[in-house]
Amino acid sequence: MIFAFSENIETALELLAKGREIADSLKSELAAISIERHGKEESYIAYGADTVYSIDSEPQADLVVDCIFSLTNQNKPEILLIGGTKLGREVAPRIAQRFGVGCATDCIDLSIEQEQLIVKRFVLGGRFIATQRFLHKPRIVTIPPRRFEKKLDTNRNGEIIENTLKVAKSRVLVLEIKDKTSQALKIEEADIIVSVGRGLKKKEDLNLVESLAKILGGALGCSRSVAADLKWLPEEHWVGLSGHKVKPKLYIAVGISGQAQHIAGIRDAKTIIAINNDPNAPIFKACDYGIVGDLYEIVPELVATLKA
């Protein structure tokens, strides 16, 4: 059996698509775990699950670890696919530790070779890909959101099993939830991103780049130094391996030199355009189209041209 879990329904559906493939090639079954009663359990079946374990709990790490641990003990799945959300990244290694087994996080590819699960993930700052296999069962994997496409098949049948598990109380007490500022930017979901780096001379000039993002209907991103060192933009805008990995249709890098970590974060972009005054900047080796020049001249003129 293969388990798939994410508290994020979209991510769960994506995992089910990949899980279905793996289950078919292993001639195994695919079960979805739903941690709270959200009423969407039916859709898990249409998107690939044979069984849905529906638990009436809440997406708190301590509780999720307990639930999945118990279900795993009961059903002995060979593979656990867990959505690589922040919650998923915490619970997957904790479950693995309880079983004393390995875990591969943020896998970008999964395949079955000679009945073995082989995974690929970025290592060494995102410039390299490691191919790994597991030494024990269950094999625990996290998959980043939006990695795979969900697949709907309305002809599928399956069973929803309402499960009442006894779990311990969470030892972490949530005191307050604060929404992230304004429209809660999710840069990893943006189709168009205009990102800015150290080429910008001062914080006030951000509106220059913002106006380009706006006219393109895109999100505003930034490099590590703008978010982490200068703190001109909050972390939500930070594109790169340690910030957010993005996969837009169009990525425009304005005044970004193109350090390896940044490049690793935009690897999945369809088209990359670079604007930089240094013809020697590494970004020009990592872009589809580049223009050498002063961003303070190019950006306003580009905005004007696009408006016209």
Binding site: D229, D278, P279, N280, P282, K285
Partner: protein, 399 residues
């Protein structure tokens, strides 16, 4: 024999590099363009312990030896290849050390804590209009008048004149006290310059190294307290020579720091830059230049650290004669500025037209290092004279 740095020295280099990359390098262009080191940079350098680094802990310094001081110089110059920040740092490291060695306790208590705190500037005023390197020809006079010392004369091509008049501070100043005794009639004093009656200053426009000013100080009947005499009366020549020996390896270290940075960026550039379909670095003409420049840089670097090491050995373990130190220090100071100038020039040319732009960040290095070929703690020909005198014997000394 062991050419490696200690673990502490390696860790210190790593820490200083990180500091310089975060707190100095981002301002390097501004320092050159505005002709001033931002006060924030100086404050950060002070709280990180870089200002007056050789001054003992009791006065707020770190009591660093010269190898450590040279490491910091190299790193500061890497971050600001215009040399401005390195000059600010190294004159205080060199001449702060000397004041601590020979100054009166009262003077040290007055002067040094403000230097290490980054509140005031400390420099060296030796050169006069009639000539810089010929110290014996100095004509600025100091006389005793009761409890006071009175100074008259003028100094020129002095680093940090604007900084010292803005922030406060002053100069280790070479003055004549017994004209009939030539070099044996010189003394050293500490001359404050901010809001001092009788002091006027002006600042020169220069070719480069603009982040720290260079100018003249006109001294007219300036009274200073007697405890500002540094060391003994009429022993100033020897103290000054010792001070130059302390500062010169740091000048040389600044040159190699800037050259290292330039060469590294040049190597990166020629590996990427395509000409006729292949990287510049594939051409033998480039490889030979890389190899030659590396070798020149490495030989200069070895001379710099050997001189610094010998100084440390002299002060800590009483090893090496002054003659041996003179030769080692002069050799390092002779080779480093020209090597650095050549390397930065070559790297600039590798970059083609881009190298000539301000944005490439190389030309300010070339302009800055040039100042060290002209002079600063002794001109190149003086270094040759020192080496010549030590090799040939005193009887061939022209002065």
């Amino acid at each position: 024999m062991d050419f490696s740095f200690t673990e502490e020295q390696e860790l210190f280099r790593k820490a200083v590099r990180e500091f310089c990359e975060k707190k100095i390098a981002p301002f390097a262009n501004e320092i050159d363009e505005k002709g001033e080191i931002p006060q924030k940079v100086l404050e950060d350098m002070a709280s990180f312990g870089l200002l007056g680094i050789t001054i003992p802990r009791e006065y707020g310094g770190s009591g660093a030896d010269f190898i450590t001081a040279a490491i910091a110089t190299e790193e500061i110059a890497r971050a600001d290849i215009s040399m401005a920040t390195a000059v600010y740092y190294l004159v205080e490291a060199g001449w702060g050390f000397l004041i601590n060695r020979y100054g009166s306790k009262k003077a040290k208590e007055e002067i040094l804590p403000d230097v290490t705190r980054g509140k005031t500037f400390l420099g060296i005023a030796s050169t006069e209009a009639a000539g810089g390197s010929d110290v014996a020809a100095i004509s600025t006079m100091m006389t005793k008048e009761g409890e006071k010392l009175v100074v008259n004369g003028s100094k020129t091509f002095i680093s940090g004149v604007r900084e010292a008049t803005k922030y406060g501070g002053g100069y280790v100043t070479v003055v004549k006290t017994s004209p009939e005794l030539a070099r044996k009639g010189l003394s050293l004093c500490y001359l404050p310059v901010k809001d001092i009656p009788g002091i006027t200053t002006n600042v020169f426009k220069q070719m480069g190294r603009d982040g720290i000013s260079t100018g003249a100080i006109i001294i007219k009947n300036v009274e200073i307290p007697s405890h500002y005499l540094i060391g003994d009366w009429n022993r100033g020549f020897y103290y000054a020579m010792e001070g130059f020996n302390c500062a010169r390896p740091l000048v040389a270290a600044a040159c190699i720091g800037a050259a290292e940075k330039a060469l590294e960026s040049g190597i990166e550039y020629i590996k990427e830059r395509l000409v006729f379909g292949s990287p510049l670095a594939k051409f033998e003409g480039m490889q030979f230049q890389v190899a030659e420049n590396y070798t020149k840089l490495e030989s200069a670097r070895l001379l710099v650290y050997k001189a610094a090491w010998m100084l440390d050995q002299m002060y800590a373990n009483n090893r090496f004669s002054h003659k041996e130190i003179n030769k080692a220090v002069a050799s390092a100071k002779l080779i480093a500025p020209t090597v650095a100038f050549d390397i930065i020039k070559d790297v600039l040319i590798w970059h083609g037209a881009y190298g000539y732009t301000k944005e490439a960040g190389l030309e300010k290095g070339l302009r800055g290092v040039a100042s060290y070929i002209m002079g600063a703690e002794g001109a190149q020909n003086i270094m040759k004279l020192i080496i010549g005198r030590e090799l040939l014997g005193k009887e061939f000394d022209p002065c």
